[in-house]
């Protein structure tokens, strides 16, 4: 309302957009991996993130750990949860029509949220660790968000190294390109599926653990992250892993810049209009269709 946007203001929201986008990219990479390898759209991705946030909350408040030290612990814990989910439930729908996997993961998502409500109650929790901002050249860099950015960038970079350089990563990419050929080449596809689901859950958990110091924790906090991750991988190109990075940063920037020039309310509209445009112009996403 009658606010003139100055270059300094634009600079500020670009900073915020990149900080937010790094988290989107990391969390969405997990969703993208599962889709790429198994053709399963995991609606439970957000609730897994929520479990990661609770892991950090309890380790911080009960065991007195530094919240950022809990990030690897939350990732390890949710890796196991993801592994078990895949082994007991998700493997049943890998070859089924995509609607079956949607229904199953939707069910898992409801179960996780309600279990969390029973176990942790709906009370809002928060980890108060670090507040305020570093001011550099007139721009405010939120301390918790900058640290979260650093973690997200490191985790994402390590994930790409794992995917690109290791035998396991090669097996994952091979399975995602063609399951039959991978199998013929001696890749244990069932094992790759389990590891991928565990790895993806760990990425969601990292997001949750980092968000724990930024936002309030409650059982339903994950839902919006399922949608945002979905938006990111469709923007970037489903099944293309660098696409998650591009899509995540793009979403973060678009949300913030649209909030500045229009309103916060309209920024979601802009994000989804962008999605429609990308799908019209490049149906396979920005980086879709390229070899990874």
């Amino acid at each position: 309302m009658n606010v003139v946007v100055t270059p300094a203001m634009l600079g500020q929201v670009i900073v915020s957009g990149i900080l937010a986008g790094s988290l989107y990219a990391m969390v969405a990479l997990g969703l993208g991996l599962i889709f790429g390898v198994m053709r399963v759209i995991n609606i439970a991705h957000g609730p897994l993130l929520m479990l990661g946030a609770y892991t950090t909350y309890f380790l911080t408040t009960r065991a007195g750990l530094n919240p950022f030290l809990t990030v690897p612990i939350a990732m390890a814990a949710l890796f196991v949860v993801g592994l078990l989910l895949q082994r007991t439930l998700v493997f049943r729908v890998v070859d089924a029509p995509e609607l079956s996997s949607l229904l199953l993961t939707f069910g898992i998502s409801i179960a996780l949220v309600n279990l969390a409500q029973l176990a942790f109650t709906s009370d809002l929790r928060a980890v108060e660790y670090i507040t305020g901002a570093w001011v550099v050249g007139g721009l405010a860099f939120s301390r918790p968000r900058v640290i979260a950015f650093a973690f997200a960038a490191a985790v994402t970079a390590l994930s790409f190294v794992l995917l690109k350089r290791t035998r396991l990563g090669k097996a994952i990419r091979a399975t995602s390109q063609s399951r039959e050929v991978a199998m013929v080449c001696g890749v244990d596809v069932a094992r790759i599926h389990m590891l991928t689901f565990g790895f993806a859950s760990a990425l969601a958990a990292a997001g949750g653990a980092l968000l724990a110091v930024i936002v309030a924790i409650q059982p339903e906090m994950g839902g919006v992250w399922t949608f945002k991750s979905f938006l990111v991988i469709v923007l970037g190109g489903a099944g293309n892993y660098p696409g998650a990075l591009v899509g995540g940063l793009l979403l973060g920037l678009v949300e913030q810049v649209a909030s500045l020039f229009l309103t916060t309310q309209l920024s979601e509209v802009v994000a989804y209009v962008l999605l429609v445009l990308v799908l019209l112009v490049r149906p396979s996403g920005l980086l879709g269709g390229r070899q990874t």
Binding site: M1, S122, L124, A133, T263
Partner: protein, 391 residues
């Protein structure tokens, strides 16, 4: 053959009923659905405990109309559609004698359609949305203050201190929109200028862009119609971006102990609104607070107090009507003026609350100091709020 025992039973009941005096009748059964699980579980449970304590207290004083009262409560899982089904069941299958309201505006908005259909009086103690009461419904009665007045105290105090400009932000949901609209209207009425106004979607946790604009608008007062997560995120980012209004107030969420636990010293100086505090000078308030704590092992929230008061208000109207007939109880509820531990009750012709006062507090040294309205509160606001950099 199979009908004989039933007929016998009916005859027996009729015979007994005609001999035994009214005091030996069964209890007055009051039906309600409450959010005992789901999103609103915590608040719904507090309301339930308010009802339970009311039942206990009334029965200890001889009950209502010479009969004991007994609550019949089902869990609506915080879902409006479930509540509709449960009220239908309470009225048609369980045939309860009276009805009390569920938790929250959305659930009440759905359930009231059932109670109106069967012409049942519903005192709705936890519905704060004005529109529920402005749709020509006849049998619903409001207890708490409406959303529109949540920020009244903040604006009034700001105007008295000569502040001129206001920024209003709100979550784009029914309740928060109404609270923001109320604040804007009041600010204009007081001759203040609204220099910035923006809504944000539910679940929004990044306010960088909104606050960047708000900072440029440089308002004296920030009135934020929030829930909990957004109030926390907004406050944290105000500190990060060094946004310094002379007064900053929030609506829901700001009164929870968790608000301070989460923000620690960053919550200092923030104004909030509350329907009720146990420190307010209402008759029997402090004693009721102590009893409740002993009974349930934790402190009551305003939901507990409103539930308790709503139940007493219904009982008082039934007593004055000398019966449970919906139209006669309704007539009494429209006329009734009553002060309970929750404060004042008086409604207009629509059943809309006009007497209950919203209280404004300020977080001062880890405690909520009630600062408005002056006739009910002792505290003094710490004004103006110092900039983040000099705290």
């Amino acid at each position: 053959m199979t009908k004989a025992p039933a007929a016998l039973a009916v005859a027996l009941v009729l015979a007994v009923g005609s001999v035994v005096p009214a005091t030996a009748q069964g209890p007055i059964r009051i039906g309600a659905s409450l959010s005992l699980t789901g999103t609103y579980a915590k608040l719904g449970k507090n309301q339930h405990e308010g009802y339970q304590l009311c039942e206990k207290d009334l029965n200890a004083k001889g009950g209502l109309l010479g009969r004991k009262i007994q609550f019949v409560v089902y869990d609506d899982q915080s879902m409006p559609a479930t509540a509709v089904r449960l009220y239908e069941k309470l009225i048609t299958e369980d045939k309860v004698d009276a009805i009390m309201g569920p938790y929250s505006s959305p659930v009440t908005e759905a359930a009231v359609n059932v109670t109106e259909k069967y012409k049942k009086v519903m005192v709705a103690p936890l519905a704060a949305t004005t529109s529920i009461f402005k749709k020509g419904r006849k049998y619903i009665f409001m207890v708490i203050s409406p959303a529109e007045v949540y920020l009244e105290g903040l604006i009034d105090m700001a105007a008295k201190r000569g502040l001129k400009t206001v920024a209003v932000v709100n979550e784009d949901t029914l309740f928060s929109k109404a609270a923001a609209a109320g604040a804007v209207e009041l600010a204009k009425k007081k001759g203040m200028q609204v220099v910035f106004q923006e809504a944000y979607p539910k679940g929004n946790t990044d306010f960088s862009a909104l606050l960047t604009k708000l900072k440029a608008a440089n308002a004296d007062v920030l009135a934020a119609a929030t829930y909990f997560d957004d109030a926390v995120a907004l406050t944290r980012q105000m500190k990060e971006l060094n946004v310094n209004p002379k007064m900053y107030g929030v609506t829901v969420g700001g009164d929870l102990p968790e608000f301070y636990d989460t923000l620690k010293q960053n919550a200092e100086y923030i104004y909030g609104a509350t329907q009720w505090e146990h420190t307010l000078p209402y008759p029997g308030n402090q004693e009721w607070f102590d009893t409740y704590k002993k009974e349930f092992g934790h402190e009551p929230s305003y939901h507990s107090a409103a539930g308790y008061a709503g139940c007493l208000i219904y009982a008082e109207a039934a007593k004055r009507a000398n019966g449970l007939d919906a139209d006669r109880v309704r007539e009494q509820l429209l006329k009734l003026e009553m002060r309970t531990i929750f404060g004042d009750y008086k409604v207009d012709a629509d059943g809309f609350q006009v007497a209950h006062k919203m209280i404004t507090f300020q977080w001062q040294k880890e405690k909520k100091a009630t600062v408005w309205p002056e006739d009910l509160t002792q505290g003094k606001p710490q004004f103006p709020t110092p900039p983040w950099t000099s705290r």
